[in-house]
């Protein structure tokens, strides 16, 4: 995973609420066996409309998406995070996220930033006016080149992993002894936990 400290650029002022993972990446795109190339299917139903917010020239290549409540609800498909990354989106700012989506986003280095609705409304207005938005992960603030400055909270562990681009599996395997202890205790106390074969 790539290290992320600062994301800066145009933000797409979408604001739509309850965006589910079928909208982010429709099921027909899930047949891939690779993580790449899903950007072509990202937000397909929205982008089928000419002049849609994703494809207007001003928003091409924008790294940030501004969205409404409950972003990423629906299925657990991680393809949603891959599709967004593949179309160039590195961060979503919304008032709330579905639990599964924010976990998937984190694991793929997509920043899911939670801000108050009023602050997002303000960012929507300045973004529509062409402002540059910056997410400074180290200092936990979202700023704009129009004098805005909004602090956000993030889990310290996630912050550390994102900033250092850490591989979570390697981190966990450092606790290998504790896992082995649990397995040994389980084999002793609850041997029935290993499935009977057939």
């Amino acid at each position: 995973m790539q290290a992320t400290r600062m994301i800066s650029g145009r933000a797409i002022p979408w604001g739509a609420k309850n965006i589910d993972t079928d909208i982010i990446i429709p099921a027909k795109w899930l047949k891939t066996v690779s993580r790449d190339g899903l950007g072509r299917g990202a937000f397909e139903s929205v982008r089928a409309v000419p002049g849609n917010i994703f494809d207007v020239p001003a928003n091409q290549g924008a790294p940030i998406l501004l969205a409404g409540d409950n972003f990423g609800c629906g299925s657990s498909r991680e393809h949603a995070a891959w599709a967004m990354l593949d179309m160039g989106l590195q961060a979503v700012i919304a008032p709330s996220f579905s639990d599964i989506f924010s976990g998937n986003a984190f694991k793929n280095g997509v920043l899911a930033v939670t801000l108050d609705e009023v602050h997002i409304a303000r960012l929507m207005a300045v973004a529509a006016d062409g402002a540059i938005i910056t997410i400074d992960l180290e200092n936990q603030v979202v700023t704009s080149d129009r004098q805005d400055r909004f602090a956000f909270a993030i889990d310290p562990f996630r912050k550390m992993c994102l900033m250092q681009g850490l591989d979570e599996i390697a981190l966990t395997l450092a606790a290998d002894d504790a896992i082995s202890v649990h397995e040994a205790r389980q084999a002793e106390d609850a041997p029935w936990l290993v499935p009977a074969q057939g």
């Binding site: 066996v33 657990s76 793929n108 310290p156 599996i169 395997l173 896992i179 649990h182």
Partner: protein, 475 residues
């Protein structure tokens, strides 16, 4: 005296391997179900880093999402190749991965094959008090047996394969307490649709829902699986139902369940799991069973629920302006006008299947309505897709397949099918489907498809009349 705990807290405490300062815990995973859609990138990640599957013995792989549900072998018993190249590649990748990583596998031509969430309980792979994960959000279903079960993404699939653990933050707890007897014609599906209509699709966010009360206790295991399956539509990551004599009777003798002395020891442990009488939940929602009617959805969110005797609501009838906008968009997509009686809505497609409602009890309930009847002329396409090969065999032994085909339904091979339109089973754009599945999202059953969620008996009634129909008229 130790603190009173909920079922969720007891399972959580027994699986903590390590704890971080912020309260996040490394949780041991007892059961991992793998299917073809969310696993290829995870296995590729293992291979790229030279890692192994830590506990193949706690893992089980089954293909389901994009297997075609048309016959899989020809008249001579030879496998029929899968026409869609991408589906074929994904299925072949799963087979190659289970072979090279030594993961137990139930293949497409095995009678035990089916939807992961049907196969797990059916094989006795799912057990009370275990932690169970799968790269699919309806993993919540397994909570019906008292397993802490939830969907995970592909990075987490890779993490579990490599370490048999996951880092998790503890959830809040929510009790949904359903009390009383259900009226005739009201099924588990109506109960869960009603609950989601009450709490909304964000009602359970951040929580694990424990379904309790006399209505749930009096349900059989298959009904409980339908309830817990849709906990995710209520916003919760997992659903739970306390294990009891019904759960033990369901599990005893299943192929992968404990046997002999191990079974007795397991039952003793399971009996200690139900929430303590004085355990405290963060949220509690009481539901009166007598208030529940046969229910159906009108919009594109599972919370858009009305009784079948009701009408399509007007967007202005919602207090929340955001919900008004969502309702307007839903009605435009669904091609419906406010005030239309639900029973006046004509239906062209019927889908009986999915991990919510494809078990034997579901098929019996639908067949009971269809016996001696036929689908209406305007119903263009009606299919029944059993949840597993074993369900299919059982239904055939009972003659249910004949009732369905005599009624004009197609009788299919097991899989996810038209639940998500990943395989060839899709609802055409602009057409309606009365569906026993769990999601009515935009495009879920195929681009432009319009889904009305309901119970198997209600789907059968809709097939007979060609419109959404109150099943009570056929009882």
């Amino acid at each position: 005296m130790s603190k009173a705990r909920t079922l969720y807290e007891k399972i959580w405490d027994a699986h903590v391997v390590a704890r971080r300062d912020d309260g996040t815990c490394l949780i041991f995973i007892d059961r991992h179900l793998v299917h073809e859609v969310t696993s290829p990138q995870a296995f590729a990640g293992l291979a790229a880093n030279g890692r192994q599957v830590r506990r193949p013995d706690l893992t089980l792989a089954v293909p389901d999402h994009n297997l075609p549900t048309t016959p899989r072998v020809d008249a001579a018993g030879k496998p029929i190749p899968i026409a869609d190249a991408e589906s074929a590649a994904q299925l072949a990748t799963l087979e190659a991965n289970v072979r090279s990583f030594g993961v137990p596998y139930i293949g497409a031509h095995d009678v035990r094959q089916g939807i992961v969430h049907v196969v797990g309980p059916e094989q006795g792979f799912t057990l009370p008090g275990t932690t169970l994960v799968c790269g699919d959000s309806h993993t919540a279903a397994h909570g019906a047996l008292g397993a802490l079960a939830f969907g995970i993404g592909t990075s987490e699939v890779e993490h579990v394969l490599a370490t048999q653990t996951l880092w998790l933050a503890p959830s809040k707890t929510m009790a949904v307490v359903v009390e009383g007897a259900l009226a005739p014609g009201v099924t588990a599906k109506d109960v869960i649709l009603h609950i989601i209509g009450q709490i909304g699709t964000a009602g359970g966010t951040g929580h694990v829902i424990e379904f309790m009360g006399s209505t749930i206790r009096n349900m059989g295991m298959e009904e409980r699986l339908t309830i817990s399956n849709m906990a995710i539509e209520g916003g919760a990551r997992a659903g739970l139902i306390a294990p009891d004599a019904t759960s033990f009777a369901y599990l005893q003798g299943r192929p992968m369940a404990p046997k002999g002395a191990a079974w007795d020891a397991a039952v003793r442990h399971w009996q200690s799991l139900p929430s303590d009488a004085d355990a405290v939940f963060d949220k509690c929602v009481p539901i009166n069973a007598a208030d529940i009617a046969p229910s159906v959805t009108w919009g594109t969110s599972p919370e858009d629920v009305v009784p079948i005797t009701g009408h399509v609501p007007a967007p202005e009838s919602f207090a929340d302006p955001a919900k008004q906008d969502a309702a307007r968009a839903s009605l435009a997509y669904m091609g419906l006008n406010p005030g239309t009686a639900m029973q006046d809505i004509a239906i062209e497609n019927i889908f009986i299947g999915s991990c919510t409602n494809s078990r034997i009890e579901d098929l019996r309930a639908a067949a009971a309505i269809l016996r001696g009847r036929r689908k209406a002329e305007n119903v263009r396409w009606a299919i029944v897709v059993p949840g597993s090969g074993l369900v299919k065999a059982q239904a055939e032994a009972e003659g249910l397949d004949r009732i369905f085909t005599d009624a004009g339904f197609e009788w299919r091979e097991p899989g996810c099918s038209a639940c998500l339109g990943m395989n060839p089973d899709k609802v055409p754009a602009g057409e309606r489907c009365a569906s026993t599945s769990n999601r009515n999202f935009v495009g879920r059953q195929g681009p432009g498809s319009r889904t009305h969620l309901l119970s198997p008996a209600m789907a059968a009634a809709a097939a007979v009349r060609g419109r959404l129909t109150d099943v009570r008229e056929y009882l």
